[in-house]
């Protein structure tokens, strides 16, 4: 088996004592999509920045296509494409100029860079906007140009850091289609995401990252098997009723229920059948639920199953799960960094 990307015990500590990575190891098979799944602050971007030679490590090692990222950074930089969490494009240039510039900085001859830019604008349906400055682009268009810039050299390894965070569902679906077509063409992709749904749809293997550590690794199906195929979320009038409901519902699933406040969540394998049974059990006890939802498991459920904590709790925000929501941390976050003084 050949691995396109290997990370071995990566460690990173930032000034101010933040331990961003605490021994992260994984390997990505050539031609596959590997997902790093984790909440905000887990260390995903730090992993990507180390693998793309932007950041040095404080421990461990990593290779891209067999080349050590810290010993052969110049060579490694010519092997991959990177689309970051924040579209790193030049607002004052047009879409075409951005792509040509990246081509030229990859040392493509001018003519080749121009031809390649035209091809990519076509592929990403940006021909109409090609000669407008990026200031006029929507968020989704910027992401597309950013992704296009990562593909200028047709790299065989691609790093995508939260490619769809903050995008509307339509733009997200569009980007997913692009990523899927890339994989069909044999590109190795390392993708980071906060969405279980995204990892499930795109990745063939997933590592769940929490606090700078990989807490679980496997195929999305293995991950979901540990969770149950669906989650039954029941909202009750008060905490006491919720406690009774929790006890009553527990025998219905092999997985244990989780209660927070007036909400009870139960990972289940057999959706509707268990839902009917649950209603019957509750009815017998004279409990009338306020809300009753069957939903797809989310990153939060992965976290509950793996750590007993919620994902947002891990990010230090402590927001409880809203019944019916299938995404956690979907809100676009403010860019961390220089202006907030957090990165220095």
């Amino acid at each position: 088996m050949t691995y396109a990307i290997e990370a071995h015990e990566l460690a990173k500590r930032f000034k101010g004592g933040v331990v961003a990575l605490d021994g992260v190891s994984f390997a990505v098979e050539e031609g596959s999509v590997f997902g790093l799944l984790g909440p905000n602050g887990a260390g995903k971007t730090t992993v990507v920045r180390i693998l793309t030679t932007i950041l040095g490590t404080d421990g461990g090692s990593a290779t891209v296509l067999g080349h050590d990222v810290s010993r052969e950074p110049d060579l490694v930089r010519s092997l991959f494409g990177l689309a970051g969490q924040y579209a790193a494009v030049d607002e004052n240039l047009t879409g075409r100029e951005n792509l040509v510039m990246v081509g030229r900085l990859n040392h493509l001859p001018r003519k080749v860079a121009e031809r390649r830019a035209a091809e990519l604008l076509e592929e990403f349906e940006l021909v109409g906007a090609a000669d407008r400055t990026l200031k006029t682009y929507s968020g989704g268009m910027r992401r597309r140009i950013d992704l296009a810039a990562a593909l200028v050299t047709r790299p065989s390894v691609l790093f995508l850091d939260e490619p769809t965070t903050g995008l509307d569902p339509q733009s997200r679906a569009g980007l997913w289609a692009v990523i899927e077509s890339l994989v069909g063409a044999g590109t190795t992709v390392l993708l980071t995401t906060q969405y279980l749904e995204e990892a499930d749809r795109l990745a063939s293997r997933v590592a769940v990252v929490d606090n700078g550590r990989v807490i679980s690794q496997g195929t999305p199906d293995e991950l979901k098997a540990a969770l149950g195929a669906t989650v039954l979320a029941v909202g009750l009038h008060d905490a006491a009723t919720a406690e009774r409901a929790e006890r009553a519902l527990a025998p219905l699933s092999e997985k244990s229920p989780h209660r927070s406040g007036t909400a009870v969540e139960l990972p289940v394998d057999g959706g509707p059948r268990i839902a009917m049974e649950a209603l019957r059990v509750l009815d017998q006890l004279g409990i009338e639920p306020v809300t009753f939802v069957l939903r797809e498991p989310s990153l939060d459920d992965v976290f509950l199953a793996l750590t007993g904590r919620s994902a947002e709790g891990a990010a230090g925000e402590g927001v409880s799960v809203a019944p019916g929501s299938s995404e956690v941390g979907a809100a676009p976050q403010a860019r961390p960094g220089r202006s907030a003084g957090a990165r220095r």
Binding site: T53, R77, S78, V89, M101, N106, A177, S181, A185, R338
Partner: protein
């Protein structure tokens, strides 16, 4: 959107010192062009950054000038060499602002992940601001002649004066690059630049003779690099003993680059 073929289309990779140098020059050229495009694409910024030096000329020529005594030389001839230096020193602040902005917006993050010469980001930034200053010099010359400035030496010496000021401003760019690389964002970079810029440009011989200042200030005002550059420029453009003044100014420029360029480069390499 169709699938992208997998064949690798990497550019030729640098091997050997010669090839690396060629690529470093090419990368610098590409980025310099990109930096200059910004100045052209934001016409408001171009307009107002040209208005400011014109206002300075008019203000000092017609408002303050009458009250300033400059023995042996008309005030307009005294003023214009000073305006050249002051305006180009102000122009060097763009280096700080531009770098801070690129860091803030994440575009330098992309550059760091490309197989390009690492030195080219700083080289292109300072080069773009040098070229911008050439434009500024043409503007000041035009305005200067329009308000009555006359060359007291000869055209060659006048052009040599402009060249010397450009070298000086280029050196200052490296100083402001350091500020830009330490600043958390472009607004702060600008604000951080002023406490450096104002004493240097105004407590200098650019607008008034140093002899008119209080004695405690004269020591600083007559030896600091902006005054040295202004005195040299005045000698070249209007007249006076040139050799020592020009060498002193060039020495300052070289000194600033030798000391501050390595600081900027180290900061660029280690900041993440």
């Amino acid at each position: 959107m169709s699938a992208t073929a997998r064949s690798v289309e990497t550019g030729s990779q640098a091997d050997g010192f010669g090839a690396r140098l060629v690529w470093a020059v090419s990368d610098t050229f590409v980025l310099t062009r990109r930096n200059l495009v910004k100045y052209v694409r934001i016409p408001e910024s171009l307009f107002f950054s040209s208005v400011q030096p014109v206002m300075f000329v008019l203000l000092f020529r017609y408002v303050f000038g009458g009250a300033i005594r400059t023995p042996g030389v008309s005030y307009v001839n005294y003023l214009i060499p000073g305006i050249f230096v002051q305006t180009m020193a102000f122009g060097a602040v763009n280096t700080a602002i531009g770098l801070a902005e690129d860091l803030q917006k994440g575009i330098i993050e992309r550059f760091r992940a490309l197989p390009m010469a690492r030195s080219s980001v700083l080289a292109a930034r300072t080069l773009a601001d040098l070229l911008r200053n050439v434009g500024v010099a043409v503007l000041i010359a035009a305005v200067g002649f329009a308000v009555g400035f006359r060359i007291g030496t000869n055209v060659a010496a006048f052009l040599a004066g402009i060249g010397m000021i450009l070298v000086f401003a280029y050196a200052l760019s490296w100083g402001f690059a350091v500020i830009g690389l330490f600043a958390p964002n472009s607004e702060t970079a600008q604000v951080m630049s002023f406490p450096v810029l104002f004493p240097l440009t105004f407590a200098s011989s650019a607008f008034v003779p140093v002899a008119s200042m209080p004695s405690w200030l004269q020591g600083f005002a007559s030896h600091q690099p902006v005054s040295v550059a202004v005195d040299a420029a005045r000698a070249l453009m209007v007249g006076g003993p040139t050799t020592s003044a020009v060498w002193q100014s060039v020495a300052w420029s070289v000194g600033i680059v030798v000391v501050l360029a390595p600081v900027a480069v180290r900061r660029y390499r280690t900041s993440t």
